[in-house]
């Protein structure tokens, strides 16, 4: 059919009108024959449905010419209350809008409307309600899949596994969902996608005209969510939701009883029961750990091939040790919490000494209080660091007060110009700043350590720092030499063990490592390395699983786990493990996604991502995996891009 130019233009104009106005016309016809309704700039279309906390419309954004899902909270906002007024609410919504993951439905923006919504029982306009615009995704929910009965276990596991991976990304961004259930998972053409992330919870937290109703759904929400304080909830509350969702899918009912559960395969039931344990301490620690359990469930053991020789992966193995040991640069008495640290007498005295310095004393005083907070925050963060590159931006975000970082640098420079030694407190903070923002091949980092050692030749912490720097540079002998001069304590022992590993490889003192691993579970990653090197992939896998149980995002452990699984002949799982790691590296924020001083963290994590990607592409232990089609066609292009 050939159309003249004029006809084509007329047709395009009419089709544009069809696209933009059809939802509006449908809504008008259904509810308001005489009135087109808008919320914010969005034109309401089809009414999709109403849930416990909100109602959803298909709507059109006439500015960007796209269809969106518009969720309006059912409960009216109290008169005079400011929407998103709590900093945490605003931060959560902001984080949700910035979070991009293939398994999550994107959040676009939030606002307040007074539009009359008869679907919510309004008799007149004027009721204030909060709304949130989200990406429109075609497809029914997982609850719809249950309408014809229970899902086959492998399909249900695969579906929930993908949701758990997406949720893990959200948790890394500091967001909890807290209303997980099959009805919150859309089965889109691109796979399952979780929606309402952080939206219901935060919207519901605002002051309302009606009494507060806790977000969450009976049968899916964790006990502590229903009865405990909201600010004490963590990722394990969502793990409960994941477990309950899986249980619902494999039994075909939202509230399975003992008889329903008795029909579930025992190993699967074990995972579900652990995830939904009443005691959060007994659940999987994170969505990633839950995902790992599901992967394990899907795995099928096969005979192991012979071990192969390999090059020692120093760079990955030592990073965890270095970051942990940096925390030891905090006061010797080792306060474990921020509050304890703030109260530490030695620290207070140090700050007082800082204030007594003859040079620029007033300036020193002006930063003393902030400095104290800064070191407290650094200590708390390092103590709980998961060693994942994605954590680096949050590390750098500690230094969000750019003015403070500038003051620290200025003070140190002032001391140096005047020929006086900067206070040790300042120097250590500067060192931490340098560490958080530079890469191991950054000459500035080496210089910072050299300056520090020169300024404090007899200082134990500074010598330890020098030893760490040697460790990072791959000079195990120099690291051991520097550590030998120091008194024996936990940090020194750890550094010595890491240096021993670097210097002596499989001949390292195994007893010392075993002893240390009892206290520092991430060292199981290094033990896994030793087992792999000794040709014992089964033992290696056990160690790596222990490392990942406490540090689910430990990149080096995932890398080595792929090797171990490959050695055990479980190639599909090995590739899944690699795919997970590649996706994590890909999701690591780059400098272009960061602002202000956070940019430093972005640069640092991008550098880490580059180094890890390059290592995956060259590690001789992965040679066979790299020959597979999936690696070549799917993983290699991503790694090549990341390594650039």
């Amino acid at each position: 059919m050939r159309l003249p130019r004029e006809g084509l233009r007329r047709l395009a104009a009419d089709l544009t009108k069809v696209e933009l106005d059809a939802p509006v016309a449908a809504a008008q016809q259904a509810a308001h024959p005489a009135e087109a309704r808008t919320i914010g700039r969005y034109r309401l279309g089809t009414f999709v449905g109403r849930g416990t906390h909100g109602a959803v419309w298909r709507a059109v954004d006439p500015v960007l010419r796209r269809v969106v899902a518009l969720k309006v909270l059912t409960t009216p906002l109290a008169e005079g209350a400011r929407p998103f007024s709590a900093p945490a609410d605003a931060a959560d919504l902001l984080a949700a809008t910035e979070l991009a993951h293939a398994g999550l439905v994107g959040v676009l923006e939030g606002g307040v409307t007074r539009t009359e919504l008869r679907e919510l029982g309004d008799a007149r306009a004027g009721t204030r309600r909060q709304y949130c615009a989200m990406e429109w995704v075609e497809g029914g929910t997982a609850a719809g899949l249950m309408s014809s009965g229970a899902l086959e276990a492998p399909r249900a596991i695969e579906l929930v596994l993908q949701v758990a991976r997406a949720l893990s990304a959200a948790h890394r961004a500091g967001l909890l969902h807290l209303d997980l259930k099959p009805g919150k998972v859309l089965c889109s053409p691109d796979g399952p996608r979780l929606f309402d992330l952080a939206v219901t919870r935060r919207l519901a937290n605002a002051p309302h005209e009606l009494p507060f109703t806790a977000p969450g759904t009976i049968g899916f929400m964790a006990p502590e969510q229903a009865f405990g304080p909201a600010d004490e909830l963590d990722a394990r509350a969502d793990v409960h939701g994941l477990g309950a969702t899986l249980a619902a899918l494999v039994t075909g009912t939202n509230l399975p009883d003992d008889e329903d559960l008795a029909r579930v395969e025992p190993r699967l039931l074990e995972v579900i029961e652990r995830a939904t344990d009443r005691d959060p301490q007994r659940r999987h620690r994170s969505a990633a750990a839950f995902a790992a359990a599901l992967e394990q469930l899907l795995a099928e053991p096969e005979p192991a091939p012979a071990a192969k020789a390999r090059i020692w992966p120093l760079a990955l193995a030592t990073l965890a040790v270095v970051l942990w040991a940096l925390a030891s640069l905090l006061p010797d008495d080792g306060p474990e919490t921020v509050d304890e640290l703030l109260e530490a007498e030695r620290y207070t005295e140090a700050l007082e000494r800082l204030a007594e310095q003859p040079t620029d004393a007033r300036d020193d005083w002006s930063v003393a209080e902030e400095l104290r907070h800064l070191r407290a925050q650094v200590g708390a963060l390092l103590a709980s660091f998961s060693f994942h590159p994605a954590d680096l931006p949050s590390f750098a975000s500690l230094f969000e007060h750019g003015q403070l970082a500038g003051q620290v640098e200025d003070l140190v420079a002032t001391h140096r110009r005047s020929g006086t030694t900067p206070p040790r407190e300042l120097a250590v903070v500067e060192l931490l700043l340098t560490w958080s923002t530079s890469t191991r091949d950054d000459p500035g980092q080496r210089r910072a350590f050299e300056d520090l050692v020169a300024a404090f030749p007899g200082d134990r912490d500074v010598q330890l720092a020098a030893s760490l720097q040697a460790l990072v540079e791959g000079d195990g002998a120099r690291a051991m030499e520097a550590a030998r001069e120091l008194d024996r304590d936990a940090a020194v022992e750890l550094v010595r063990a890491a240096a021993d590993l670097q210097e002596n490889g499989a001949e390292a003192d195994r007893d010392a490592l075993d002893r240390l691993a009892e206290r520092h579970a991430f060292l199981h990653s290094d033990l896994g390395l030793l087992e792999l090197d000794g040709g014992r992939p089964g033992d290696a896998l056990a160690h790596l699983d222990r490392a990942l149980a406490s540090h689910p995002d430990l990149a080096s452990a995932h890398h080595l786990r792929a090797v171990a699984l490959d050695r055990l002949g479980r190639r599909a799982e090995a590739l899944d493990e690699l795919a997970w790691l590649v996706a994590a590296l890909e999701a690591t924020p780059g400098p272009e996604t960061s602002v202000g001083l956070g940019e430093l963290g972005g640069r640092s994590s991008a550098s880490y991502s580059r180094a890890s990607s390059a290592h995956l592409r060259t590690d001789p232990w992965l040679t066979d995996l790299r020959q597979t089609e999936r690696y070549r066609d799917v993983l290699e292009p991503t790694l090549a891009r990341l390594a650039r």
Binding site: P4, G7, R9, G139, P189, P637
Partner: protein, 233 residues
Amino acid sequence: MGAERAHPDELAFPLTAWGRVLTAGASDEAARRRALEQLCRASLRAIQWHVRSRWAKTDTEAHELTQGFLWTLLEGGLAAPADEPRFRSWLKTNLGSYLRSQRRAETPGARAGDLAFVPATSEPPTWAAEASFDELFACCLIEDAAGDLEGRVQGDDLGAFRAAYIEQPGASAAELATTLGIDEGALGRSLARAQAELSTLVRGRLRSTLASDRDLDGELSLILERVLGEDLP
């Protein structure tokens, strides 16, 4: 349980043609080629019109260049970005690259051997000389979708469609109603049904050229804007 693991495709709808091209592995080369050929065939007129009008080629040259371009494309002889989510953009990039390389070499287009999938006659409209590749792509896609309307809508609706967009595109609703011997209300209902069906057909064709359905609304807006001659923001 591992052996029973669900294939990812079982969790989602089937891949689009362009999705198959992007994700096919080495062992799926035949499927990849089939999907690419299907997309190329659907875009033939746009390519040929573009070559003739914008590159000022004769009928014969345009035919040979188009043939050579598609042959090179199917043989994988072009270095196109492998992660472009839109087939249209990928095609445009490669077409420009191919035509520039042919111009530099001052040689006729690469021969496609016995492969003859380009129709010899495909006269571009006069306005094609002013149109961008995107506009040609969009117009051809809408025209092809309109061709599928026959048999999918009732005779009266198709008659109204032809009158409004082919026979009397400049006529008012009243004039069209008079011509067709119906009242304006009936005309409006007929056109609305035809437009709704056409919208579905256009979406279906467009969907096959995208890696993900997420881009569908945006791509549809873009091609409609191109036909309307509006600049993108």
